[in-house]
């Protein structure tokens, strides 16, 4: 249970048209994600690490997308944001500095 590689990290996103591309990108870029749908919310969990890549989102959205826009989609998260730059957002446990 204490292994940071298997502890679940997760993001909850608003389930709407705009976020579909984000959700699909996360599913494509992260093996072993588990997706749970609740009214208005989609919860995406992954063991250890979860990445959101700008390029993957842009590909599906058909327009430019900056990683700051992720703030519009997110409802809550479990894990540390270990990276948030122009190209990707990474969520993981055990993020000692």
């Amino acid at each position: 249970m204490n292994d940071p590689a298997t502890r679940m990290v997760s993001v909850d996103l608003q389930e709407n048209e705009e976020n579909r591309a984000v959700i699909e990108a996360i599913e494509a870029d992260n093996p072993n994600v588990r997706v749970r749908h609740m009214p208005g919310v989609v919860k995406i969990e992954a063991p250890g690490r979860l990445v959101i890549k700008r390029e993957s989102v842009e590909e599906r959205l058909g327009r430019d997308w900056e990683t700051h826009e992720f703030q519009m989609a997110i409802i809550t998260l479990a894990g540390n944001i270990t990276e948030w730059d122009d190209d990707e957002i990474v969520l993981a446990w055990n993020a000692r500095r």
Binding site: Q14, M38, I75, A78, I81, E83, W84
Partner: protein, 511 residues
């Protein structure tokens, strides 16, 4: 004036922009000492050696912050307008759904405003530019939340009871003292304790339990505006959670002497926040006509799994243990909401919301979600009995005043650990006076700072002391600012009669 054609300036990377626009705006004071400039960051015993070690994973800058906040507001206000224009309130699952919102408006919205004030204070008084800027953003978020919540619910206030005097009632009504005293406790602490109390313990550990399942419930019950403001606010919460987590890690990394101080704050504020969340528990389990997720399930998903199994193993590295008394919260998950709604059922004649015996279908849902407790401990001894009274033409209300816990201010209703049939009561004596607490958690908190909690403004004591309008129920309700139709039983209430009339159902013809 001939401009040499130049290539457009290269856009700075997020990291460089954050560094230039946030960190670079700091300076060393030269004509006052830094102790004079930041007088509040030493008395709590927290030691900070290097403020620059504070990290903001969001790398927010002022321009990016306002750009996205404006976009969030635009989306929300478009929804509010559409909902109001289309008489959206008529498509709620039931009028009684709004009881949950009446509690939210009076219990939570004023706390958002208080959070705004205190984060504004922190944005001036922390020594480092990183935490100052993060606090500034959160301060702006919190006032946005207060405003959008009031604006969202103001549309319902045109048609429904119980929302007209929420600010006055936040200061006066018995059950509102639970969230109010909780936040006052945090506001009257030092800046670091506030950060652990609200930034970490509330925002990171518990806020999901308030917003996520609840806003899903709003979505499921046709309350589009609340769902939208909830998720809009919650999108800021993920930033607040990150701030809270950053805060605790920063304090722990700066000096080993900070660890025991922070541990005690985590112990205290987990329990304080958890007790306030009891009100959310009953909203989830009883107040949504179409329930979406039980308190127990939400607690397991958002607290046990994400926090105890996810976060705390990370904090173990710093020597931080899960909150003291956390096991009692886990044990109570089977019973918490049932005890609290029973109290509300007993006392809603003196509240701004209405209550009723849960319908047969709702009780079946509760039995299914609480297979070990609901039928034997709550349905048979309480709801069946209340139903018999109703069948004989009555309605049970408890007309006395309950003993309140000196710390959380909830009436004594919670069970002894391991014994659902016995009410837990703990006592402490201080300066020759006797004080009562609802649990080991609240007693531990009282004994740690008795000089603080002996000053509590307890609604029941205040009524007895003659400070709440007079000695009778009508006197007190008048002082609370209650109007006809605000409280009592759902069946036959003003909201229910109006609802039936608007929908042209048979009840309307009888009424």
């Amino acid at each position: 004036m001939t401009a040499t054609p130049t290539r457009p300036a290269r856009k700075l990377s997020m990291k460089a922009r954050y560094s230039a626009l946030t960190r670079d705006l700091d300076w060393e004071p030269s004509y006052v000492s830094s102790e004079e400039m930041f007088p509040y960051t030493s008395f709590e015993g927290i030691k900070i050696h290097d403020w620059s070690k504070w990290e903001d994973p969001f790398r927010l800058t002022v321009d990016a912050y306002y750009k996205y906040q404006a976009e969030k507001d635009k989306r929300l206000y478009a929804v509010l307008d559409g909902f109001a224009q289309s008489q959206g309130h008529l498509s709620l699952s039931q009028a009684s759904y709004l009881n949950a919102m009446k509690i939210f408006l009076g219990g939570v919205t004023p706390l958002e405003y208080q959070a705004h004030r205190n984060f504004a204070f922190l944005s001036r008084h922390f020594n480092g530019p990183g935490p100052r800027f993060a606090a500034l953003c959160q301060s702006q978020d919190e006032i946005r939340h207060a405003q959008t919540e009031i604006h969202t619910l103001s549309n319902y206030n045109k048609y429904y009871s119980g929302m007209h005097s929420f600010l006055k009632q936040h200061d006066r009504v018995w059950y509102m003292s639970v969230p109010k005293s909780y936040f006052d406790d945090a506001l009257s602490a030092g800046p670091f304790e506030f950060l652990i109390a609200i930034g970490f313990s509330f925002e990171y550990l518990l806020t999901n339990l308030l917003f996520v399942p609840f806003m899903s419930g709003a979505s499921f019950n046709g309350d589009l505006p609340t769902m939208t403001f909830g998720f809009s606010a919650q999108s800021d919460e993920s930033r607040h959670m990150t701030l809270g987590l950053e805060a605790i890690k920063f304090l722990l990394e700066q000096d080993e002497d900070n660890v025991p101080i922070v541990q005690e704050w985590v112990d205290k504020w987990f329990w304080r926040g958890y007790r306030v969340a009891a009100i959310v528990a009953q909203m989830l389990d009883y107040m949504l006509p179409k329930p979406v997720m039980s308190w127990k399930e939400a607690f397991e998903l958002y607290f046990e799994k994400q926090m105890l199994e996810g976060l705390f193993p990370d904090l173990e590295y710093y020597g931080i243990k899960p909150p003291r008394h956390v096991q009692q919260a886990i044990d109570e998950k089977e019973a918490l909401s049932h005890f609290v709604y029973w109290v509300f059922y007993n006392f809603s004649f003196a509240a701004n919301f209405t209550t009723s015996i849960p319908s047969k279908e709702h009780q079946a849902w509760l039995a299914e979600n609480y297979p070990d407790t609901f039928v034997d401990y709550f349905q048979k001894p309480r709801w069946d009995k209340a139903q018999r009274i109703v069948d004989n033409g009555g309605r049970f209300f408890f007309m006395g005043l309950p003993q309140l816990c000196q710390v959380c201010q909830i009436p004594m209703t919670f069970p002894e650990p391991g014994d659902l049939n016995t009410i837990c009561q703990r006592t402490s004596d201080y300066n020759g006076e006797h004080f009562n607490m609802c649990s080991d958690g609240c007693k531990w908190i009282f004994d740690r700072e008795p000089e603080k909690y002996v000053q509590a403004w307890l609604p029941v004591h205040q009524i007895y002391q003659g400070n709440c309008g007079g000695p009778t129920v009508p006197d007190v309700l008048a002082w609370y600012g209650m109007q006809e139709g605000d409280g009592g039983e759902i069946a036959g209430s003003r909201d229910e009669v109006n609802w039936a009339a608007w929908h042209g159902t048979p009840a309307a013809k009888e009424a």
